[in-house]
Amino acid sequence: WDEPLITEMSRPGRRGALPPRPGEDVVKAVGPIQLPRTLARDSPPSLPEVSEVEVVRHYTRLSQMAYGVDNGPIPLGSCTMKYNPRVAARLAFDPRLETLHPLQDDETVQGVLEAIYMVQEWLKHITGMDACTVHPAAGSQGELAGVLMIKRFHEIRGELDKRRVIIVPDSAHGTNPASAAMGGFQVVEVPTGDDGNVDMEALKAALGGDTAGLMITNPSTLGLFEENILDIARLVHEAGGLLYYDGANLNGIIGRARPGDMEFDIAHVNLHKTFSVPHGGGGPGSGPVCVRRVEAAPGVTLEDLLPGPRVVYSEDEGLYRVRPPGRWSVGRLRAWIANTLAVLWAYVYILAMGPQGLRLAGEVAVVNTNYFIKLMEGHWGYSLPYAPGRPRKHEAVLSAKPLKRETGATAEDVAKGLLDAGLYAPTIYFPLIVEEALMIEFTESETKENIEAYAARLKEIAEEARRDPSTPKKWPRNTSSARVDNVRANHPRTVTPTWRVEVLRRQGRLGPLR
């Protein structure tokens, strides 16, 4: 495989599409194109000139050098890469939807509005919250929504000046502190105890009059259910803060426990994780946000603070209606209502699963995790830090520290050794509180056989590393590229984020990135 860039395939005069042209009558009626002289483009953009045949082949070949759930297991921890059922594609890819403009009158899109409305409703029951919006484009935008709502909440209460701190556990996803910072908050981390729970003494010490809120995912990134969650909720609420639920790990408890019941005030969920929307190589996703009706002021609850337009049902009219954000709302986070196709995908998924199916999915995901742990139990190369006796939920975090100590092979080497066997690697070096972390989430979509093969390969890697410590550094050898040079990739003199940079640099027209 050595596929050129599409730009390198260019040949002057070739075309890949024949777009519409105005008729001669139109051209004649209107006359030649007039643009402000100073703003007319004087040379065409340097885009490739290729035929449709070549474009189809090129991207077909590139796709064959990619790897999705359709190719095999992707046990990336905290990513919940489950199978994306094709019946949902049947709706999301229907060509008719392509024509629906987001400003079409409500009466003309009742089918879509009803589906969005139903997803809003179902998510209320799934999360145990009082109101939901599907507006945010992804989980991190859901988090931003939550942080802005926390800010607005305290602002309405007149306490914004003093409530400057958002607390996150040290095992949190990086998005939590990043989102808090985008809301202008200071971030205070609290450590994790040996039992895998938040260190309660440290939490108590961190809480105070400056506490705006606490963001936490449960189960944690260690795959452990936070046992003290009710105490944590009580303490945060007593301190005057709001409790935010990061729903990235919802698959670990779905059907068994709900953030609303744990007294979370705000929660987001990831439709592209728990609800099986395909991840598209990085996106699009969808990150609905739900709230309990906690009062900020008389008659104003968190529901009023929710971002973006929502769909409501008008009994009088018998119509679903888009209601724009109201006066207390934190506003829009994107121009339009939602990543609608993702919401429709999740709509189909939830319809097909029903509560029983969602619960079964969660249960089997948990069984898969613990079965995998069992297979790895007692192996000399890998340990299970934090509360090894407690069952994990959606994921398990192994440490390759023993392996590294004995052979020098790192978590990254292990990852490459998995790729070499045609298996996707886990999330590595995360959470930060585990050295040489291998964070593994099979989800309910994996077969017992694949889990066994994965465990076997991990053990084989350890044996190969012990036999010859130089071997792991040579992995991978069977992939479309060998290990990439990350130093060169990031060096100011060689960093190449676009072909344009490469060309200008070759022409001596571009210096190092300063």
Binding site: A40, P48, E52, G68, I74, R96, V348, K448
Partner: protein, 465 residues
């Protein structure tokens, strides 16, 4: 219950696994959940989720049919509506390629070696957009145009350590709302600059006045305006002014128009944002779309930009390879100090845009933009012949969107046209300096002469009476 999407759901398999683990039941794996909040299967299963039971595939397909049959699809003619996303010609190969399972079901390419094809496709997206904009660095996508504006103004605040951002009063109101939300979080103040009522151009005097405070982090302008359609001829002067005042110049662009217009990189823009929707994406009632984000080749900009970047490098054997670069900007490394919290983006839509730009090429893209120009000007000319209609309302040039003034309430006109099967433009009452009789009309290459003639005829009939 065995489920096709849950291979281990068969009782015998589950029991085998539980037995191997020495665990008596699935329940036991949830023993650490406090009883007071643990739901019994009966409690959970009785929640009104979906239809309260799993639907079999054929039942689901029937629901899908029903849903699809309850929308009205406007294809002949397409909606005469833009507002930041537009009905456009979409080559069929785009969807055929992005629906390939390897792309569709992939995750963010954290493992470079097994994801070279995905990375190359994203690198190509970055590279093609870089050429279109003549900006050196383009990220692998943000959510949409409006959130890209939000990220851009937060970035300007970080880069300049100033708090004020200026925008023209005719800025797309939906984008402005989004920007305001981001600004609220980041402590940025957004202030509007006057726009000339006749030309639709930014008022340079008012701009200079507001810049004179000395605390401007950035000026944001649209090019062409997505809510008036106007190509602002003061744009270069405005950019120079903000640069003199030490602020960043941020341009929001409609990408197809760039085939005809001097690109932001040539207008001195520090940051360019926009929506990739016109590059082969459907309207899909709200998304997914594609937030474009580009910066000039300058360290302080590149290091402060949000979002993922794919870079070209070599592998251990010296062959070309691709990798995620400059990750120290990102949340999974930098956490609270990250340039943004974004992780999931719109990667698949970026690939779609790469396919689109590859198919169209320089000639095709120019033809699209030219067809837009011709069809919209043809429409404006025909409309202006109607009694009491001013079209275009503003004097500035345009490529596909333009404002018209009707002799009646624009929302009412729109309602009447809808009854006749045509989706007209966006009523502008309440927006900036426009009146209730004003409308933003959109005509692109997706509209034929027949479509335009139909619109004009029907409008004539609903106006005249």
């Amino acid at each position: 219950m065995e489920h096709p999407w849950i291979p281990n759901s068969h009782r015998a398999v589950l029991d085998e696994m539980l037995e191997a683990m020495g665990v008596s039941s699935v329940d036991d794996l949830y023993r650490d959940i406090p009883p007071s909040i643990k739901l019994s299967p009966e409690e959970w299963d009785s929640l009104p989720i979906g239809e309260g039971r799993p639907l079999r595939e054929a039942e689901v397909l029937a629901r899908i049919e029903r849903l699809l049959s309850r929308n009205r699809y406007f294809t002949d003619p397409p909606p005469f509506m833009g507002g930041g996303v537009w009905p456009r010609y979409i080559p069929s190969a785009v969807k055929a390629l992005i629906s390939r399972g390897e792309f569709l079901t992939a995750y963010t390419p954290y493992q470079a070696e097994i994801s070279q094809g995905l990375m190359q496709a994203l690198f190509e997206y970055q590279s093609l957009v870089a050429e279109l904009l003549e900006m050196e660095v383009v990220n692998a996508s943000l959510y949409d145009w409006s959130s890209a504006v939000g990220e851009a103004i937060l970035m300007a605040r970080r880069v300049t350590r100033r708090e004020r951002v200026l925008v023209p009063e005719t800025m797309n109101p939906l984008h402005l709302e989004t920007a305001a939300s981001y600004a609220y979080g980041g402590g940025v103040k957004i202030e509007e600059v006057r726009v000339d009522r006749e030309t639709g151009f930014i008022d340079l005097e008012d701009l200079e006045r507001k810049l004179s405070h000395g605390d401007t982090a950035a000026l944001y302008m649209e090019y062409p305006s997505s809510y008036t359609g106007v190509i602002d001829e003061n744009i270069e002067a405005a950019g120079e002014a903000v640069h003199r005042a030490g602020g960043l110049f941020i341009l929001g662009v409609e990408p197809v128009s760039m085939a005809l217009l001097k690109p932001p990189g040539r207008l001195g823009a520090d940051v360019a944002v926009g929506d990739g929707q016109p590059l082969g994406l459907g309207l899909n009632y709200g998304g997914p779309y594609l937030g474009v984000f580009a910066v000039r080749w300058e360290g302080r900009l590149v290091r402060q930009m949000p979002g993922r970047l794919i870079g070209m490098t070599v592998d251990a054997e010296g062959r070309r390879a691709f990798a995620m670069i400059l990750q120290t900007r990102e949340q999974h490394i930098r956490r609270a100090k990250a340039t943004s919290n974004i992780t999931t983006n719109e990667a698949l839509m970026a690939i779609a845009a790469a396919v689109y730009l590859s198919l169209l090429g320089p000639q095709g893209l120019r033809e699209v933009a030219e067809a837009s120009w011709y069809m919209s000007h043809y429409a404006a000319r025909k409309l202006s012949e109607l009694e009491g209609v001013s079209a275009p309302l503003l004097r500035g040039e345009f490529i596909m969107d333009f404002t018209v003034r009707l002799p009646i309430d624009a929302a009412e006109a729109r309602r009447r046209l809808l009854e006749k099967g045509v989706l007209a433009g966006i009523p502008l009452g309440g927006f900036s300096f426009f009146t209730r009789n004003d409308m933003l009309l959109t005509v692109t290459e997706a509209h034929s002469k027949r479509h335009v003639d139909l619109l004009v005829d029907l409008l004539d009939s609903v106006l005249g009476g």
